[in-house]
């Protein structure tokens, strides 16, 4: 065990810091709409030009090929620099691209990987359906093989930023009558294909963050199947495994920053008695102290996760422990904030500003990417070895 960074790692940190300092986009990221997507894409292009696109991707695919420790350093400096969230580029860079690298043909890789890195292709993830949420394997969207095409009919839902996406990782049932994990295929779906209708859904935070996507006889070339017809479940599992890993550091750092910001806020707003700063109220101070301990522990856990991944090559089921804990801490943070800020809690704040809108957004933390209950099932069954329900 040690906390030491090598000389190269320290130099690397300085390089990252300098670059972010001079290239981080100015101003506040727009809340929603085309302006937001354009902002995210422009920032991706800047990173590409600076040689920072796809930090975790292997060099042979145009990535930066950073070690996990270097990725950690990048994310730490990224958070410190207040660089914007990855936004609409998330799916392509963090799991679509890596899934292609692992499973796609050379031609598929050539067509998509460089474009994702440049910010020329925005991707979305079409896995969840109205009838298939936590139970993804119950999905029913159908793909009928006809000549050189797969004809897709059905519906996806909760597809984040589908309205801005060029391509989609689409999981469909290609074998008629197949059950559960069998008979699925993972397709690259061009979002401009005829027969696709995208209908944005507004969240409780007032943002059209995800969409319903309808497929009406959408023809997708057979050559867009990744990993072979009928192997969709295996490919999808590799996609989900990429949702974890050092990228998590960014969220942890952000949570730590927010706790400090809330502590500062508690120095300026009044305590419930109206007589002194909120921080002098023991109850408030202790809630904040506890939060401080929790985000600090999150960082230590994330570092341990990196050490583990370095040894075994995968994040492992322990990644669910981090996910679950992060969701709980972030929700606790915003719930505490709503009590501390008093009358300000009635005013809806801007995106990424103030406490109230992020408070509404924080409900998503225990849902997206597997709900907290599903994370608990994973921890209990795969880390602790408890029996599964029949």
């Amino acid at each position: 065990m040690n906390l030491l960074f090598t000389e190269e790692e320290r130099d690397f940190r300085a390089e990252v810091r300098d670059w972010l300092e001079s290239h981080r986009p100015p101003g506040i990221r727009p809340l929603d709409g085309r302006g937001m997507a354009d902002y995210d894409i422009a920032w991706q292009r800047t990173q590409f030009e600076g040689g920072w696109a796809g930090i975790a991707w292997p060099v042979e695919y145009g990535g930066r090929g950073l070690t996990t420790v270097q990725q950690l350093i990048w994310h730490e400096e990224y958070a410190k620099a207040h660089a914007p969230e990855i936004g609409v580029c998330f799916v392509g860079l963090n799991h679509g691209g890596p899934t292609l690298i692992m499973n796609a043909t050379d031609e598929q890789k050539r067509k998509h990987l460089p474009a994702i890195l440049r910010g020329d292709q925005v991707w979305c993830q079409g896995f969840s359906e109205p009838g298939a949420g936590s139970d993804l394997a119950s999905l029913r969207t159908q793909g009928r093989v006809e000549g050189d095409n797969i004809i897709v009919n059905g519906q996806k839902i909760w597809t984040s930023w589908a309205q801005w996406a060029d391509y989609q990782e689409l999981l469909v049932r290609t074998e008629p009558g197949s059950q559960r994990h069998a008979g699925l295929s993972w397709l690259v779906c061009d979002m401009k294909s005829p027969g696709i209708t995208v209908r944005p859904i507004t969240t409780m935070a007032g943002v059209a963050e995800f969409c319903e996507v309808f497929y009406d006889d959408v023809a997708i070339p057979l050559s867009n199947v990744v990993g072979g017809v009928g192997n969709g479940w295996r490919v999808a599992m590799s996609t989900l495994s990429f949702e974890r890993g050092p990228g998590f550091m960014a969220e942890q750092m952000e949570a730590a920053r927010l706790v400090e910001e809330l502590i500062e806020t508690a120095h300026t707003v009044r305590a419930p008695d109206g007589k002194r700063p909120a921080i002098q109220d023991d109850g408030i101070a202790r809630t904040l102290g506890e939060l401080r301990a929790e985000v600090t522990a999150l960082r230590s856990m994330a570092l341990a996760g990196i050490s583990r991944a370095d040894r075994t090559g995968t994040p492992g089921a322990e990644a669910s422990i981090l996910r679950l804990f992060l969701g709980e801490v972030v929700q606790k943070l915003y719930r505490a904030a709503m009590e501390i800020i008093g009358d300000e809690s009635l005013v809806l704040s801007g995106w990424g500003q103030g406490w109230t809108r992020p408070y509404l957004h924080s409900f998503a933390y225990s849902m997206g990417g597997g709900t907290s209950e599903i994370q608990r099932n994973i921890i209990a069954e795969r880390v602790l070895g408890l029996p599964r329900a029949r």
Partner: protein
């Protein structure tokens, strides 16, 4: 940067496990004959060099650091190791850092047993496992001191919640206490991190006991571990134990490297590990059902030890207060 044990550290731990599992079994045989079992173990800890793990070799130690101490005590915590182990490690460190080489060597060899003294309300102190000890470590949030047990003339036995220790109350007799030097605050952090390590082991062990029970106990024709109302609290235990372990190791490394954020990291560890110990022990009782409520079942020992360890570091609330008074570590 690596938060997992190195190959050398793994080897150290493997040896420790082998010893602990036979020397300090957490079962009925232990409690039937606690005094003898623990007295023997406390002697053997000396021959294994545990009291001086973190002291330099010329001082009779093993020349390792706070990280190894924390790793070992996390193992020992799983076996509810006698408090004399913690007290002995701290006493050896205090003796060595105050130049009391003769005292240090009697502790390192196991000749001198050590108890613990913690401040209590209204100026009194509580003595833990001091009855069979010659020396005590006084653990105060500003410093650590060594004192002879005879410094406390009005010792009064009290019924101990934790049957694994003896408890006495006394009024504080300062004059005979040998205060240590400027490194007091550092010594206190060192003590806190070692207690955290014990709590890490406790929260992991009580989780393992509960997991084993949930797998084995059948109701409604299946293992109770199938039910999510059982499964999910166990998953929450795993989260708390993982948080406690790695925050404690982070704190131990920060202390070993004398980092500026050592005190921030240590108080954070105390808050997290303190909760993991208590909450995991509480949840385990429920998973055992009525059996968990008995003397016969091991779980109550973990509940009581969690209370004791939290108290030794002045209670979780105090640790939260320390943490919120720190400057941000970012």
């Amino acid at each position: 940067m690596d938060l997992l044990p190195s190959a050398d550290q793994e080897a150290l731990l493997a040896g420790a496990r082998e010893f602990l599992v036979t020397a300090l079994p957490v079962d009925a045989s232990r409690w039937r004959d606690r005094d003898a079992v623990e007295a023997r173990a406390l002697k053997e800890f000396a021959s294994l060099g545990w009291y001086g793990v973190g002291l330099p070799e010329p001082a009779g130690g093993l020349g390792l650091g706070a990280a190894e101490e924390a790793l070992l005590l996390a193992e020992a915590g799983k076996y509810l190791a006698p408090i004399g182990l913690l007290a002995g490690m701290l006493a050896a460190r205090v003796a060595w850092s105050t130049g009391l080489q003769d005292v240090a060597s009697t502790i390192l060899t196991g000749e001198c047993r050590v108890g613990l003294v913690i401040p209590a309300q209204s100026g009194n102190v509580q003595l833990i496992d001091a009855t069979a000890s010659e020396q005590v470590v006084v653990l105060d949030s500003s410093t650590l001191c060594l004192a002879s047990c005879s410094a406390f003339h009005d010792r009064e036995p009290q019924p101990s919640l934790d049957q694994g220790v003896t408890l006495e109350r006394a009024s504080q007799i300062i004059p005979q206490v040998r205060p240590c030097e400027s490194s007091g605050a550092t010594l206190y952090l060192h003590a806190v991190v070692l207690v955290c390590a014990l709590m890490v082991g406790l929260s992991e062990a009580v989780m393992e006991v509960a997991v084993a029970h949930a797998k084995q106990r059948q109701q409604f024709g299946q293992s109770i571990g199938v039910f999510q109302a059982v499964k999910h609290p166990l998953a929450d235990m795993a989260v708390r134990a993982e948080a406690a372990r790695f925050q404690t190791m982070m704190a131990a490394l920060s202390i070993a490297d004398a980092r500026p954020d050592a005190s921030f990291q240590t108080h954070a560890a105390a808050v997290i590990a303190g909760r993991a110990a208590t909450a995991n022990a509480h949840a385990a009782v429920q998973i055992f059902g009525a059996m968990g409520y008995t003397q016969e079942c091991v779980v109550h020992h973990f509940v009581k030890r969690a209370v004791l360890l939290n108290r030794i570091i002045d209670g979780r609330l105090k640790q939260i207060d320390f943490l919120i008074a720190e400057k941000p570590s970012l």
